[in-house]
């Protein structure tokens, strides 16, 4: 099979799942392809963590519940592609990040189902987002980092 055929095949497989937070775990693969990242899966008692290392040295972790839902995502390193990672929740982030009062480094949202935090500085960004309604029973948000 020529290389371009193989690439098209992979894109076809993952293209229905372009978003992550709140989606099923298959979206993790879409993110891996999109971010050209390597992945390892870390098993935890109440969930699994799909950890991606991008070639620019950034780390992205997606937290998957036993039901197969991505209930949280965290990032560290370069500013990430939040449209990809937040999916349908991206617009909520954009609205909060555009607010006039908090300035400079990061946004904080905790008004609805989405809880979002980002911080850092030029060349180094840290953040996390999770959905309260999807947090598995017994999991503290402090574990998400």
């Amino acid at each position: 099979m020529p290389p371009y055929t193989s690439l098209a095949f992979v894109l076809l497989l993952v293209s229905p799942a372009l978003a992550s937070l709140g989606d099923d775990a298959s979206s993790v693969q879409a993110d891996q392809v999109h971010l050209k990242a390597s992945t390892r899966v870390l098993a935890r008692q109440l969930y699994s963590v799909h950890e991606m290392q991008t070639q620019s040295g950034s780390t992205i972790r997606q937290y998957v519940s036993p039901a197969g839902t991505v209930f949280a995502v965290t990032w560290q390193g370069d500013a990430p592609d939040l449209r990809q990672l937040l999916g349908s929740h991206f617009d909520e982030y954009m609205t909060a990040a555009s607010q006039a009062v908090r300035r400079g480094r990061g946004a904080h949202i905790e008004t609805g189902d989405l809880v979002f935090d980002s911080g850092g500085h030029m060349r180094y960004v840290v953040g996390r987002a999770f959905l309260r309604s999807k947090l598995p029973s017994g999991v503290s948000s402090d574990e998400l980092r």
């Binding site: 620019s56 965290t74 954009m94 990040a97 300035r103 008004t111 060349r123 402090d142």
Partner: protein
């Protein structure tokens, strides 16, 4: 104090401190004598002010006036309301603030002759616009032909990948400033990663052919540069000097001093040196746990940890994103170096209710403003009040990177 009188004060100071004439308050280009700084001492003190800023609504914004000139000419524009930021690198100005001078600044192009346009990545926002060269003057100092970013979407539309990072703050209303003066300890804004082609490039720089923009590798010296590091003297770092602030006030004036140990007014003295780790951070010990931290005049509050770690409640509207304790709460944390010698310093600070602070509509400077942050200690502008904070540049300009205070 309203913003007009603040600007007037600032301009008066600049006129008094600087030999060349300025056209304060004017919007158009002006001619300066174009004189380069002499070799005599002095001329390294730039006026800075924390106030409401050029859009009259900024909380804890630190601003200054920068003179931008077409390289090698006396065609210049004095731009006020430029945010002083110790955690970014390089000068960015709104095209609206440059006015007609924008047309006189040479565009930086890639090897194919296409304009280099930058997606400058801040934590929660981007600035998009072309890289151009300009002479930069502050106090009695001058840097020649410095790559700067002109914030301007007219060259090419913002690429989707850039918009996926965060909102683009392309105008005065969204940025709250006429530009950002990044004087952090790095000389280029992205560094080596942006000088490479391929997936390890984080996508700060694009080359645009018509409306089609692709990520391009740009050498570290062609990237947007910290202009202070390119001064002919006093170029190894800066000192941010601000007085103690007892409570919420409309305005606070201070000095940005160029150079460290180069003149009588910028000696390191007994300040402790904090070298950063590989992520550009120091360490902050709080309640028995160690976090990454940094000193950021461009953050407008103490942004640290979360409600469960601090006991501070988050705010309801309109101060979402800040802390709103029922009564002021005091905290203690200890900074130490991220690498190298084990300097330590204990910091005491107080966080007050942001919604109550903002209800004082004449105040724009808030020494007790705080907010949450995912696992980091962002020592924002309130930290700088009552301290001399040194920012030493990386080699070859300085012996950093480090902070000292």
């Amino acid at each position: 104090m309203n913003s007009a009188s603040t600007r007037a004060q600032l301009c008066a100071f600049v006129v008094a401190a600087v030999a060349f004439s300025t056209a304060c308050g004017g919007g158009g280009s002006r001619s300066s004598s174009g004189s380069s700084p002499g070799s005599s001492s002095g001329g390294n003190t730039q006026a800075i002010v924390a106030n409401a800023g050029p859009d009259n609504n900024y909380a804890n914004g630190l601003f200054t006036t920068v003179t931008v000139c077409a390289p090698g000419t006396s065609s210049c524009q004095s731009i006020n309301g430029v945010l002083v930021d110790t955690e970014s690198f390089g000068l960015r100005v709104l095209s609206s603030a440059l006015g007609t001078l924008n047309n006189s600044l040479p565009q930086q192009n890639d090897a194919s002759g296409n304009p280099n346009v930058e997606c400058a990545q801040f934590v929660d926002s981007v600035l998009w616009g072309p890289v151009k060269n300009a002479d930069i003057m502050m106090a009695g100092e001058k840097a020649s032909s410095v790559p700067i970013q002109v914030v301007d979407s007219s060259v090419a539309a913002i690429p989707a990948a850039c918009k996926s990072i965060g909102p683009a703050e392309q105008d005065l209303k969204s940025l709250g400033a006429n530009g950002i003066l990044g004087i952090g300890f790095f000389i280029s804004d992205c560094g080596g990663a942006c000088a490479t082609a391929g997936a390890q490039n984080p996508g700060f720089y694009y080359a645009c052919s018509g409306s089609s923009c692709s990520v391009v590798a740009v050498s570290t010296t062609q990237q947007v540069q910290n202009p202070v590091a390119l001064f002919s003297r006093d170029n190894n770092g800066v000192v941010v000097q601000l007085p103690s602030v007892g409570g919420s006030v409309p305005s606070v004036s201070g000095s940005l001093i160029f150079g460290i140990g180069t003149q009588s007014n910028n000696a390191l003295g007994s300040a402790q040196i904090f070298r950063p780790d590989n992520n550009g951070n120091l360490k902050t010990l709080f309640n028995g746990a160690t976090y990454e931290g940094f000193l950021d005049s461009g953050s407008n509050a103490y942004f640290f940890l979360n409600t469960s770690a601090t006991g501070l409640s988050g705010c309801a509207s309109p101060a979402e994103g800040f802390y709103c304790p029922a009564s002021p709460m005091g905290f203690t944390a200890t900074n130490s170096a991220g690498s190298g010698l084990a300097a330590t310093n204990t910091v005491h600070f107080t966080i007050d209710n942001a919604n109550q602070l903002f209800s004082n509509t004449t105040a724009f400077v808030f020494p007790t403003l705080g907010g949450p942050n995912p696992g980091l200690f962002d020592w924002g502008l309130p930290f700088f009040f009552g301290r001399n904070v040194f920012v030493a540049f990386e080699s070859p300009a300085g012996s950093g990177p480090y902070w000292a205070y």
